[in-house]
């Protein structure tokens, strides 16, 4: 499989990249590590005329503490995040998520955090070779009106399998999107659209600049289930965040439960999260209950499209949430 033809441009600074995006808009795609983009291009899922490479934009590669925030440049490599003590301490879920991305080689030489959270949704029926797809009517995501994942579905049922997205959403992260002359901040809950065709609330002339994680003094954890130990997407994942109250260390004041790889976007489970408020950190049965609520609520949005059975993946939502909660609680208690 070969890449389709394209023009490759490597701007030397951030402004230059914004200028190019301003000019080329939909005709251009941004290349960071390429581990998602190039694979899709090889399959003919994307045929951008222009590739804007962020290779030279070293300024987008940083992890820093700024007041009560961790700021991560979009082009920061996965390996740098794994190596960061700050992230391990204040945003453990992200550390755990990054550890699972791709394989060591991909983490070191290619994969970036920006690329990870902006990876396109997947579906076993959509992510196929051009020839495979040519033998049938195009699906929603391919520009058609059919869904092969769910019969008679009028919308795309692809899945967001980004590890980083689920962890960051649990951490309550925001991202900064920039376009020529203006920038905006959006939280991840609103950034992921639940539209399988266009999973992000992002314009084609916008560039992801930064990820901002609030330091709230809580503990987080990320768990995922995959068939293999490397080069595998999760079939279910869960990111959780737990914060104790200022008055009583053993009481949960705030909780965020997010599940990923099960639906069109990572899902923040409000009901399960609020259920935990006021519960004790050693209340295992409360965690079990929250995990079951998570499963019930997430199952509504679950889509059958990444292998395995839907029943199994839904059942595992509960297990992943439970494991993540237990881990976050133990760390908090320590």
């Amino acid at each position: 499989m070969r890449l389709p033809r394209f023009e490759y441009i490597e701007p030397i600074n951030f402004e230059g990249a914004l200028d190019l995006l301003y000019i080329h808009k939909d005709n251009a795609k941004v290349l960071a590590g390429g581990t998602d983009l190039l694979v899709r291009m090889k399959k003919g899922l994307l045929k951008p005329k222009i590739i804007i490479s962020l290779k030279a934009l070293k300024e987008l590669s940083y992890i820093k503490k700024d007041d009560s925030y961790i700021k991560i440049g979009a082009r920061t490599s996965i390996a740098d995040i794994i190596a960061s003590d700050l992230i391990k301490k204040e945003a453990c879920a992200l550390f755990e998520a990054c550890e699972k991305i791709g394989a060591v080689t991909i983490q070191h030489y290619r994969g970036t955090i920006g690329g990870n959270i902006l990876q396109d949704n997947r579906c076993i029926h959509y992510n196929q070779s051009a020839f495979h797809r040519s033998g049938r009517q195009p699906c929603h995501k391919d520009g058609g009106k059919i869904c092969y994942a769910r019969d008679a579905s009028d919308r795309c049922n692809s899945t967001c399998q980004s590890d980083g997205a689920t962890a960051l959403m649990a951490l309550g992260a925001n991202i900064t999107l920039v376009r020529k002359g203006t920038e905006r901040i959006i939280d991840l809950d609103n950034f992921y659209t639940t539209d399988g065709i266009m999973p992000f609330a992002m314009e084609s002339n916008e560039l992801l600049k930064e990820i901002v994680i609030p330091i709230q003094g809580g503990k987080s954890s990320y768990k995922r289930l995959a068939y293999r130990s490397a080069i595998d997407y999760p079939i279910v994942s869960a990111g959780v965040f737990l914060k104790s109250s200022d008055t009583s260390k053993n009481e949960i004041e705030d909780a965020r439960i997010v599940v990923g790889a099960i639906a069109r976007a990572p899902i923040f489970l409000a009901k399960a999260s609020s259920f935990l408020k006021g519960k004790k950190f050693n209340d295992i049965s409360a965690f079990k209950k929250a995990a079951d609520i998570s499963m019930d609520n997430a199952s509504t949005f679950a889509v059958h499209n990444v292998g395995s059975t839907l029943e199994y993946r839904c059942a595992m939502v509960s297990e992943m949430v439970f494991q993540a909660l237990k881990e976050a609680a133990i760390v908090t208690q320590e």
Partner: protein, 760 residues
Amino acid sequence: MSKSNSDFSVVGKRIPKLDAAQKAMGRAEYIQDIKLPGMLYGRILYSKYAHANIVKIDTSKAVALSGVHAVLTGEDVPEKMKMGFIKDNPPIKKGKVCSFRDEVAAVAAISPEIAKKALDLIEIEYEEQIGIFDPEKAMEKDSPLVHGHLKSNVLKMPWDIHYGDVEKAEKESAFVVEDRFTTQWVTHCCLGTSGAIALFDANDNLTIHTNTQIPSLAQKDFLESLKAMGLENKRVRVIKPIIGGGFGSKLDTYAYEHIAILLAHKCRKPVKIAFDRVEEFKATSTRQPTIIYIKQGCDKNGKLTFRDMRMVLDNGAHTSWGATTPSVMLMPISSLYRVENVKYVAKCVYTNNTYSQAMRGYGNPQATFAIESSMDMLAEKAGIDRIEIRRINRNQSGDETPQGLKITTCGLEECIDAVEKELKFDGKNEKGVGTGIASLIHVGGGARIYGSDGCGAILKMDDYGKVDVFTGGTDMGQGLDNIIAQIVAEELGLLAEDINVVHSDTDICPWDVGAHASRSTFVAGNAALGAAKKVKQKIQKFASKLFDVPAEKIEFKDKLVFVPGDQEKSMPLGKLLRKAHFSPGGTMLMAEYFYDPDNQNMGKELKGNMSMTYSFGAHGAKVKVDEETGKVEVLEYVAAHDVGRAINPLLLEGQVYGGVVMGLGYALTEEVTVKDGEIMNANFRDYKLFTAKDAVKIKAPIIETDDKDGPFGAKGIGEPGCVPTAPAIANAIYDAVGVRIKDLPITPEKVLVALKKKND
């Protein structure tokens, strides 16, 4: 008395692969690297349906595209040009397609891009037919037919065997177990993808560069194609580039090779067809998926009384040589453990799925999965320890099995001991942890699948004490070149690096039936050894005149030819060779040898000693089952093998490690997922081949039984590593959590469903 490893100077040594640096530095030339002057690029168009009539093909736009030299459809393929075991597979299909993999057109163009563009311009009108994808349904009387001209989807094949009296033995059994098992499609995943370059000279003689494990038989297939094309009495030269893995995938010739030949002939230019990974997944073959019914019993002491097995194999739409795998399945079915009464029926069934083919173990992993799972079930029912039941029934040296296999040397007991020594089998593991064991028998001294099981070797001494060995054998990465070098070096008192092994070209190398059935070390090794012995005698004869001593007094060691105890009578081999060449009336030192083992073709009775000797082994696994997710983690793995002798323990361990990891994938994660005949995971992300991170630490005890017929006592070890892996894992899972998974691969969801069922 048998020799010990200390008696050898080269054999038994851990000599790294002689081509390791070439490969590690990217210097080795694979088919992808080869470019010939004027070469065109061929590409194949495949069917868009699992089963359809081709109503119309319009190639005019493709023909008109600039840079396109030829466009072929089924109409351009000579009627008699067909591939496979029963010649039911034309390289391009005409009128009808029976699987997604069916070739419907091919082009040759000046670049791969233009070739692809040309394919896109070919317009085909199909009329879809009902497809049949379940072999058991395909066997039903009113099933639609895959091939309309046949009366049934069931292939006419001979496997309906009864040794002894199974009915009587069953009645007399104290304990009987019965069950159904299934195995899935898996594929070879060779790192080097397939490809071929065909070219004709001005006299219509063909040269084809191709990845093959069967150069001599491929030559025959290609000659038949030439004949079908009206090119009689032509020569075919098969040149093998460096091959990046075979595992059985290259035991047939493929459509792409025959299409390259047709295109090259039409264009009068070299034509290369090279697969990308998707094509490799979709257009090369898989291991046979099977449905296995097994019943076996034992007496009150645990001695096996009978074994009754029925197999249904999904043949796919066409028939490769792999359709003969039931013959090899017969080996473990009739002969793994002592069992006198055996019944066996196997059916290969046409479906509209991809056609399956030979793959490492050739049916043995499927059969052994059922047998060894069932052995544990029987042990439990009889209340006998699972190691004990295997000891009671173990094969032993001197046995002749119902099938007529003559067990010369058998280290099965030692293998079981070695596994037991490494792993705990007392059932006292922590919660969720368990151990499992499974044994194997495999051909280890060739296998007479064809009329001949022979291999030739030609050995030529140079002027400096180095040797060129031209072998019929094939190195496809497994390391045969090393093995031959070590065997010849040992015999001639040289170092392995003094031996240059040439195996690449049918114009140069002698005949061989192919690198299959774990036969290369044994058969190609014996051929090389025979040639080395012959040349040694010639050198001795020449030296005897020079030293004036009887020839038999002359020995070879450390690159010297000498008479022990007489320091005057010693000469470097190189100097001696120069004397032979440069003396008046000189002589050239060269020898040839053809080794065809004294084994038997099973014939119509399906009885006979198919191999000169048999390899045995026992695998033990310790696993941890996560009862919440169903995920299985392999904690420890022991793979003990009776190998006769390890010519090179380093390479042998590599073969075992590779086999085990392949077997673990088979057991736990690998599956070609197929939806109505279409492969859905044609890439390494969705096809869950084990990664380096998934691989487990493997202990590989080597049991040496010094087989009298093997070169320096060696037996074959190419395939055994992946044979008993799946049942060892399945048995360990049962030991850990009490659920028996009978369908491969053992995915977390299957384990969880079984756990739920057990706990309800």
